[in-house]
């Protein structure tokens, strides 16, 4: 037993030396995690803060100007053109100069004063219908405030039904708050899976793996010796991204680090397990990289990172049960934003443990019994 531990320690030392040996490979391990979390933290947001629009105001009344001023004053909408003919709309939208065209008919103010429904006509560029939908919801909110204000000034009754909306855990519904905790899992998965998938493949390609197999070190010990350093690297990467989230983006951390790290350890171990499993199957580094990529893509797309799992058809929702990233994103979002405790994330913890408990021993067995 002690001899086994000593052998594992030697292997871990050797792996860590190989990984951290020179400045360049250290940089490849940790710099991308920081750069990616910064870049994607800024880029991966569905929130809009710059919507170019054009006005087609046939009314030119105080009422229409008031509404335009509200749009301009929102800090989100940028009026880039004012047009006087309907034929100009197509040009502006087609060439992507504006995302929205907002039109007022000649009787807008008259109908407003008469208490009749006065139409605000909006044409949106639906080439990215998600962006267009978000922009429309911003306009709706502004028109709603405009209406309330108008009713107050003209002594009209307030609407019979008032809707109050409140969001838990993320008061302003900023997508960045939901994206960056999710990136902790995503970036860590990308890096650790590739790293471990390559680790054995590289030794096989160089022929050093066969040398390792003829030493007294057992396959299980090789597996542990490969898994431990990769897990450490993965946890350091996750920590770096967490630091970026808190120190750079100032997203408040609601939960406990003990809970979060319990989840992260299980997640990184399961990612390492999958990586080593790939590594035990392949013969070359190229195969290792391509196969891990073929797995990584569905993992990322079916994780709930960019589109919610609840929107997927049931068959795909079942597929997500074997996806470690799905659980990691759930854990990091819920612990980070909600402050969820162990009991809350238990349904995410045990599947990760199962994935690790299956892939790691299989990988160890495959090290010696690979057919090719």
């Amino acid at each position: 037993m002690i001899a086994a531990l000593l052998r594992i320690r030697t292997l871990v030392q050797k792996e860590l030396l190989a990984l951290l040996r020179d400045r360049r490979s250290r940089a490849v391990l940790f710099a991308p995690a920081i750069v990616q979390s910064l870049l994607f933290g800024y880029a991966a947001s569905y929130d809009l803060n710059h919507v170019p629009y054009a006005v087609f105001d046939e009314d030119r009344s105080a009422a229409s100007r008031d509404l335009i001023a509200r749009l301009d004053g929102s800090g989100v909408f940028d009026r880039v053109a004012e047009i006087s003919r309907a034929s100009e709309i197509a040009d502006l939208v087609d060439s992507r100069q504006v995302l929205l065209v907002i039109g007022f008919g000649p009787d807008f103010a008259r109908r407003m004063t008469a208490g009749e429904p006065a139409n605000v006509l909006i044409i949106a560029d639906g080439r990215n219908s998600n962006t267009a939908g978000t922009a429309l919801s911003y306009v709706n909110a502004i028109v709603e405030r405009f209406n309330t204000n108008w009713r107050e000034r003209h002594g009209l009754a307030s609407p019979p039904v008032r809707v109050t909306v409140r969001a838990w855990y993320n008061q302003n519904l900023e997508t960045r708050w939901t994206m960056i905790p999710a990136l902790v899992g995503t970036i860590t998965l990308l890096q650790t899976l590739l790293l471990t998938a390559l680790s054995v493949a590289r030794e096989r390609e160089d022929g050093t793996f066969d040398q390792l197999l003829v030493t007294p070190i057992r396959p299980t010990e090789i597996m542990v010796g490969k898994a431990l350093p990769a897990t450490m690297v993965g946890l350091i990467q996750a920590t770096l991204i967490l630091l970026v989230a808190q120190l750079w983006f100032n997203i408040p951390f609601a939960g406990s680090f003990v809970t979060l790290y319990a989840g992260l350890v299980l997640f990184v171990v399961s990612a390492v397990g999958i990586g080593l499993f790939i590594s035990s199957l392949v013969a070359t580094m190229q195969q290792a990289m391509l196969f891990s990529f073929v797995l990584l893509m569905p993992f990322i797309l079916l994780s709930g990172l960019a589109t919610p799992i609840g929107n997927m058809p049931p068959a795909f929702q079942y597929l997500t049960f074997v996806n470690p990233l799905r659980y990691a994103i759930d854990i990091s979002r819920r612990v980070y934003l909600e402050g969820a405790g162990f009991a809350d994330i238990a349904p995410d913890l045990w599947p990760l443990a199962v994935i690790g408990a299956v892939t790691l021993p299989v990988a160890a067995w495959m090290f010696r019994n690979r057919l090719v």
């Binding site: 994607f40 569905y46 170019p52 998600n130 990529f293 797309l301 919610p308 058809p313 819920r334």
Partner: protein, 381 residues
Amino acid sequence: MTSGAADGITGRGRRLRALIVKESRQIWRDPSSIALGIVMPAILIVLFGYALSLDVRNTPVALVMEDFSAEAREIAAGFQLSPSFDARVMTSMAAAERAMLAAEVNGIVRIPSGFARGAAAGAAEVQVLVHGTDANTARIIEGYALGAIGKAAERRAAEGQLVAGAGPAVVQSRMWFNEANDSRHFLVPGLIVLIMTLIGAFLTALVMAREWERGTLEAIFVTPVRAGEILLGKTIPYFVMGMIGLAFSVLAGRFLFHVPLRGSLVVLVIASSLYLLVALGIGLVASAVTRSQFVASQIALLVTFLPAMLLSGFLFDLRSMPVAVQAITYVLPARYFVALLQTIFLAGDIWSVILPNGAVLAGMAALLMVLARVATRKRLD
């Protein structure tokens, strides 16, 4: 003299053919390149077509009814009938909050007691609580909930009841190019960018770097094959592979997912060829400069694949990114290709978009090919 020149041309043709045959066999024999070149695009088509959606459908919400008047039931019916929601009626707020804490529902709509009395007096309130952990979904739910409540008010207005809340200004919106507001319409064109990037940049970076790593490129250097021919021999098979991926995606988009192709096929093929050349160029340059499979693939991943997903305008709006990030997107090819694809698929042949974006891609392709040619000199260091 003339026969010598003819020899040169046929010799070049023969050498090039041999290289292409060798490369194609290598692709065909290695299960991993088949996995990336054929299995992966198929997986992506299925995922993008069927699994990914930003449209809210059957989202579980708790409907807390503390008032059972006709007005309250009407609003409740709006949620129960809507295909966007899976409304579960609950009688107490405590039960609904427990469900939301356990993430069983994504939102709570509460119609408080005294709603009918309040409605008569013009001061009724409906509360909408959303789970902000997924902010985008929360915002969509919020919008749909407001719509469902607004519809109930409109119906009553149409039935002749005086409703002061409808208006005065009413937003009438139309979504051009995607009237049905189907997120597939922009996800499927985005898919083409991902497939082209994977085959063009990632796969080429790997295979070329492997030849450097293993020293097989040196073996080719001692043959009469010229450096330009080596590059062409690498480019042509992967170009063909990328074009096959394009054909699959267009066919699947058209016939499986009914995404319109409003522009012309010729323009689409030309635009895609340009992007594919840029991607191939990046792969070739990255591998020639680094001569290491791992580093080359990391570079290909960082400058092509992740930007294609995140910095291209395919999912996230470019104009809302900070200026520094926007500046980066201008250097990367993906944004130009996404602009081209979204326009060609959904809007048509709009030259004011196609020409400038196509020109940038053509320029990048030319530059990268020259760089690749310079970096792949027949020389040993």
